[in-house]
Amino acid sequence: MKTKQFLTGSLFVAAAFVLNSFTPVVEGYKAGDKAIDFKLKNTDGKMVSLSDYKSAKGFIVTFTCNHCPFAKMYEERIMALDKKYASKGYPVMAINSNDPAVSPDDSYENMISRAKDRSYSFPYLFDATQEIAKAYGATNTPHLYVLAKENGALVVKYIGAIDDNAQDATKATKHYVEDAVDELLANKSVTVTQTKAIGCTIKWKKST
């Protein structure tokens, strides 16, 4: 009896160990997942969290940066998203996760001047540890996450590109982010929940 118990016990431990060693690397969010909040430094020096926005219905979390040509092409459209949706309860939260050692244009100091030059109406946050980009599974800039508050949780509703034409906003025919937020505002479920966000790759820290 004792032996049996011992065997079962050790099997359980062995199984737990095997499961543990096969835990996959976090692959980031999919639509329907709960997103984590963060506490990141804004260009005004203050720390910003999503929980600071008590009256928000959700967020348009945008991984972007200074240097990337795609981020530059989309900058105006990101600014327009905040102008259009912040007052409706979906403000833009821009996050730069690039390692300035790899991409000096994306340093905190350069973020400050960028935000000032363009008078960003939204926070432009520095993810210095890159932990938020990793948790969300962001790979590119710009890479967007539409989140909606549901029962106190932040639920991912859309992941991907802003629209279907980076080069020319006037030629875009599918406005993924706007469509998603509009549907959420109308209490509908989001039709297109995922697209591939093309752009520059996030500049990860070189492992030492």
Binding site: P69, D164, N165, K196, I198
Partner: protein, 165 residues
């Protein structure tokens, strides 16, 4: 003596021309249907499709190594094809000058398809559109592999070597 010098001169001339023999490379703007045709070519040649852009730093960094490898494998059944995701408006003003400056000997096509989500899965389902990425195809040998990252000379050489044995 004079004759010998002349002969040496001609030999040199042939060697030089041999080395720089102008390949019939093409620089052009294409649509996805044309890329698809290229990807579906069924013969015993291995095609190395490098997806890149002049605005992509890591792409420009690896570009010279790809050119060196293309020359190194010139006499093997390997062809390099560069698929540029530069913008159509930059074809004449940015891409062509870049190719001339770098003495590019391979085909370079600017893929004019701004709606990436309409074609990216058709290149490779798992591909997220990272630049640079390199797709190696040999339909005769059922080979299709996407490498969504940068390559050094040695790394790509190590991938190509077994393919020409």
């Amino acid at each position: 003596m004079m004759k010998l010098k002349k002969a040496i001169f001609f030999v040199c001339l042939f060697v030089v021309f041999g080395l720089f023999k102008s390949q019939a490379q093409t620089f052009a703007v294409i649509k996805f249907s044309q890329l698809k045709e290229m990807m579906e070519r069924r013969n015993d040649t291995t095609y190395v499709f490098n997806f890149w852009a002049t605005w992509c730093g890591p792409c420009v960094k690896e570009f010279p190594d790809f050119q060196k490898l293309s020359r190194a494998y010139q006499n093997k059944k390997i062809r390099f094809v560069f698929i540029s995701l530069d913008f159509k408006k930059d074809f004449e003003t940015v891409l062509l000058p870049f190719l001339k400056k770098n003495y590019v000997i391979d085909d370079v096509f600017l893929l004019d398809e701004p709606d990436y989500n309409s074609w990216i899965d058709k290149v490779e389902k798992s591909w997220m559109g990272d630049l640079p990425s390199t797709l190696i195809i040999n339909n005769g040998h059922q080979l299709k592999k996407m490498y969504p990252h940068e390559f050094t000379y040695e790394e790509l050489d190590a991938v190509l070597k077994p393919l020409v044995k």
